[in-house]
Subunit: 416 residues, 2 copies
């Protein structure tokens, strides 16, 4: 597509274009940061009103039964599971991604401890999103049982890291900075051949790329609902466990919501059967309720169509940037092969931070990641081809004029 | 007060009565369950609208800076701290009570491990709210370091449980079932004399009874915001640590929100200075934002006046029940001495569950707790003396008619 008109024509032919109507999009904004915080489904306002004005204000305590608040984690988990290739009652929406990593890690280590107590290494990636590493570090420090963290990077590729001392491999399906995508089935198979259990962090893939946890024979997965799933700022995260581990898994954040009979008020913890034992304490009902609005839109779309459009938009974005801004010092750090990337594209620029601030000031909202990285999220449910065209034109204009250079910008980042 | 007229007169003279206007109270309801889920501050609807329509829908990712979302846990914590006798930057609002117990327990055990590694017992109370016990059990199971849980009860009073092998004492300030209140300063002193660190669960006391964590020389405290603080269903909890432990404390749920420089995306975890290191993952912004509405009302009231009214209403409730329903098999299980109870009163009745269902059907909402316990929360910010009168009259009418006996009720409890 070499012209804006061609982009508009592609928008007219786009089968997913009607879904844009399901979202509130602020005027004058091209939003390329849905991989950090998704936009608002229009249904969210009415749903919030229901929770506030009926369920809380009038129903009060009765809403635990009448509005089925207690069932929300499982009910939403079942909807979400359909996007992830999970079975019924294999997913719950609860807590934060960080906490769910802790639970999955504890569960995986416990299984290995029983079968292969000599395995004391947890493998992750140096370039993983930091909280994944921090949670592993916290667990190792807490346990004081000689566990260690081994990080794969340019010097230590995965195949050399997966030795017989490894208990667990924790990877992000899509890298938060570069957008690089792992082949989940292949890597899981590789891990299993070494006797290693896998935990997949789907924060940057759930709702953006096809995920089939069962087909990949993954062991555990966690992820967040506020990016491509449009659940709202800081909306609760999710956790999945493979059915084959359901009888064995255990987790130490054993709050009363995970008890088999929470209202018996028994003294001894007795885990619920199935995935509900991954629950811990009382959940933020208002924030959690809105997750459903985003899921309902996502479930209207065919994931293959979403992926096809994501690939087409990302290709277009990369092509246009390289063609139209090619005389500026921009370096693509996202894989060129569509099969190896998720749904965002990142370029380094020596003045990345200032350029991104100038873009945002012009209504093209992406984000900045250290070092020097301009990150652009491509969300097929509400972006079109002409949006990509216009975004690149704005970038070109800013770079050509050097206008990012003229202002002072406070060097303060937003949240991934 | 022997008549409804006397109660109405007391309401007219009540200096806290105007605060009732700050809350939405459904018509035809006398709400005696604010110790389970508080009512809705009227300001919450406007605040939710702001978060939904401005901060999320329009501000999108920019709101992490412009609406200061990242600072919410600390900002709300500082407001809440004024109700708890805490210093600035000693409290954060975050996660759930269960998770905050885990953090405080890990921190306390780590301190003891350094100073007194031989102390391997955690003392709590058999009648404590179950999640407190479950979290201790989960920690013990996870650590596999020979820790054990010792429960005080009728047979093992606190003074005999606090031996030299004890590391940590975890108690609820107010018991969720009986309403019994500990003297925090006295018990903390007793624990300290035995070299034991204290964790106080303030779920049933924050906003209901005077709490002065600094004066009591407590070590750690946690609690929830959705009961007497009216933060909304499942609104985030809080955690406090004494200033003297701030340099030493450590906790294993070390997510990126607790990192000293979260946006550097460093590989190694480096805890923030002060209480912020008790944060873990991204918080549910909508649910958290509404906590402020409840706090703002609570801060308008003088806590001594709140306590005085709580005592007066609870006295009145107990007196009236015993006078007017005394011919029915009701047994008070709450301490008669006002100095030894929090802000709710509980009676056993052999048909407790059915009686409570009948009360709820008549608009008098308390709750039921195993075994046979009718629990009535007394919330001075929005209840008056005539409400108490009317509630007791409804109870008397139901008991006199035996009308609780005539219907079949599903035996399903609501959430504490």
């Amino acid at each position: 597509m070499k012209t804006r008109e061609a982009c508009l024509e592609a928008d007219r032919l786009d089968p997913l274009a009607p879904l844009k109507q399901e979202f509130f999009l602020p005027e004058g904004v091209i939003y390329l940061d849905g991989n950090s915080l998704g936009v608002q489904p229009k249904a969210a306002v009415a749903r919030a009103g229901e929770v506030l004005n009926q369920e809380w204000a009038v129903g009060l305590i009765r809403s635990w039964n009448t509005a089925n608040w207690f069932e929300l984690p499982r009910r939403l988990g079942n909807k979400l599971g359909r996007l992830l290739g999970a079975g019924d009652d294999e997913v719950v929406v609860t807590d934060t991604t960080s906490l769910n990593i802790f639970k999955a890690l504890a569960a995986a280590l416990r299984i290995q401890q029983a079968d292969h107590p000599e395995r004391r290494v947890i493998v992750s990636e140096r370039d993983n999103f930091p909280t994944d590493l921090y949670m592993i570090e916290g667990m190792i420090d807490l346990l004081q049982q000689g566990y260690e963290l081994r990080l794969i990077d340019d010097e230590l590729p995965l195949e050399r890291a997966l030795r017989d001392d490894v208990a667990v491999l924790l990877l992000s399906h899509v890298n938060y900075r570069t957008g690089a995508l792992y082949d989940m089935a292949a890597v899981t198979g590789q891990a299993h051949r070494h006797g290693v259990l896998t935990i997949w962090d789907l924060a940057h893939s759930a709702g953006a790329v096809p995920v089939n946890l069962r087909a990949a024979e993954a062991d555990f997965a966690v992820g967040c609902t506020y990016k491509y799933l449009n659940g709202g700022p800081g909306s609760p995260a999710f956790i999945w466990v493979a059915e084959r581990h359901q009888d064995r898994f255990w987790q130490p954040l054993s709050g009363w919501w995970g008890h088999n009979r929470p209202f018996d008020m028994a003294t001894a913890y007795e885990p619920a059967h199935g995935i509900r034992r991954f629950l811990c304490g009382t959940q933020p009902i208002l924030s959690m309720s809105l997750v459903e609005c985003g899921l309902d839109v996502a479930l209207k779309a065919d994931m293959a169509a979403v992926r096809a459009k994501s690939v087409a938009l990302t290709e277009l974005f990369i092509e246009l940037v390289e063609e139209r801004c090619g005389h500026h010092p921009l370096t693509l750090i996202t894989p060129r092969d569509a099969a190896r990337r998720g749904s965002h594209a990142s370029f380094r620029h020596p003045n990345g931070f200032a350029v991104m601030q100038a873009l945002i000031a012009r209504g093209v909202i992406g984000d900045y990641r250290e070092p020097e990285v301009l990150r652009f999220g491509i969300t097929p449910l509400y972006l079109g081809y002409a949006d990509i065209w216009d975004a690149v034109e704005t970038l070109r204009d800013i770079l050509d004029r050097g206008s990012w250079d003229r202002a002072e910008f406070c060097r303060r980042s937003a949240v991934t």
